[in-house]
Symmetry: C2
Subunit: 227 residues, 2 copies
């Protein structure tokens, strides 16, 4: 019998699946900007595909809330509004809280150690005042907790909503005070995780998300005033 490594499943993605991923990237990387029209024809040429699979992908992205379809008028990258932020963050908070509870039940010692390393790196990123690196490390920590929860449905929903919120450049922005506070919260998160204290971890993650919402809303309002 062949070794596991030799007999990996050959996962040939269908075109529409591939396009969903590519478009998500274009949107998160801000190549397609919130509020802008999605140029169906151009994208077809760029990707070298016909309209059928592209349109299938757009329909999928629309159910995820990343794209807005208008009857006979086409597809737009959906906007980030105050209402949307106030709606999505509480849901994200509930999902993260659950991920904390479940992670404490299912996480392995090695996973905790890996997250501890990420956490230490996060603190260094803060000390260096490297916002970009901080943001990336932060994402890795939260995703690692989600993975430790061993729940695909939870992971899927979390990822979709996270992508939806991440589109905004200014999400990575914070006031100095908020940044310090966020690091403190991460200190707590790390401790509760190491002690496998599910309820406290859940509560801290909820609070962490609530504060992030406030931080994002402040920036969003500033942005809106400037236009």
């Amino acid at each position: 019998m062949a070794a596991d490594a030799d007999v990996q499943l050959i996962a040939r993605k269908s075109l529409h699946r591939e396009l969903v991923d590519r478009l998500q990237l274009l949107i998160t990387r801000n190549r397609l900007k919130p509020g802008s029209k999605i140029p169906e024809k151009d994208l077809c040429e760029q990707f070298g595909v016909s309209r059928t699979p592209l349109r299938e992908a757009l329909k999928v992205l629309a159910t995820d809330g990343l794209v807005r379809l208008e009857q006979n008028r086409g597809a737009w990258v959906s906007n980030i509004t105050v209402e949307e932020v106030e709606e999505v963050f509480p849901v994200l908070g509930a999902l993260e809280a659950l991920s904390g509870e479940l992670a404490c039940k299912n996480i392995t010692e090695n996973e905790v150690k890996a997250i501890r390393k990420l956490h230490d790196q996060l603190v260094r990123n803060y000390q260096d005042r490297n916002l970009d690196a901080y943001f990336k490390t932060n994402q890795k920590i939260h995703k690692a907790i989600l993975l430790a929860a061993r729940n695909k449905t939870l992971l899927n929903y979390w990822q979709t909503l996270t992508i939806r919120m991440q589109r905004a450049r200014y999400l990575a922005n914070m006031s100095d005070e908020r940044w310090a506070e966020a690091v403190n919260e991460h200190e707590l998160i790390m401790q509760f995780l190491e002690r496998r204290n599910g309820p406290e971890l859940a509560a801290t993650l909820t609070e962490h998300m609530r504060n992030k919402q406030q931080s994002v809303l402040r920036w969003l309002r500033v942005q809106n005033e400037m236009t």
Copy 2:
């Protein structure tokens, strides 16, 4: 100026949207059974549409987890497995808990009164041992709380997961003891809602969902043993 009733938005749905809804109905009403192949050609003839919009709809349903697509082999109604139940119910629990919290903040007095009426009806359904009516009233109550939470993202996710779980006939089934217990839980839910006690309502809804999960798992295991 015309009255509101006269000027309703004429929401001409696109074909694929319409088909998503129709297929969801066919699946929840058990006309398309879990595990069975989705007959693309037949459905096109039945609905009188071409394959393009139907296939778009299938892709959307697949991201919702209601349908499973296999490369070059077509679409199947996804099965309800023990793993899926163990995955979905905790997420549903977290969403319901949040809906309780938010509902206590946003619900109007009239809405509470309407839910109280539904609750009294639920108790009568129990006293009559009318399981079918009980199940329907139960659904109405939970949905009413979700609506009172005023959060579309939350409502969407809740509905998708609820549909995914409702496909199973035996979901509506319960042991006598469980049924009595469920009614007690609803009594608490009603009280906490009337007192706008968000945290307690959330905790009770979580517990309610945890118990439902156990009830469903028992039935699912019985079903699996019988085949």
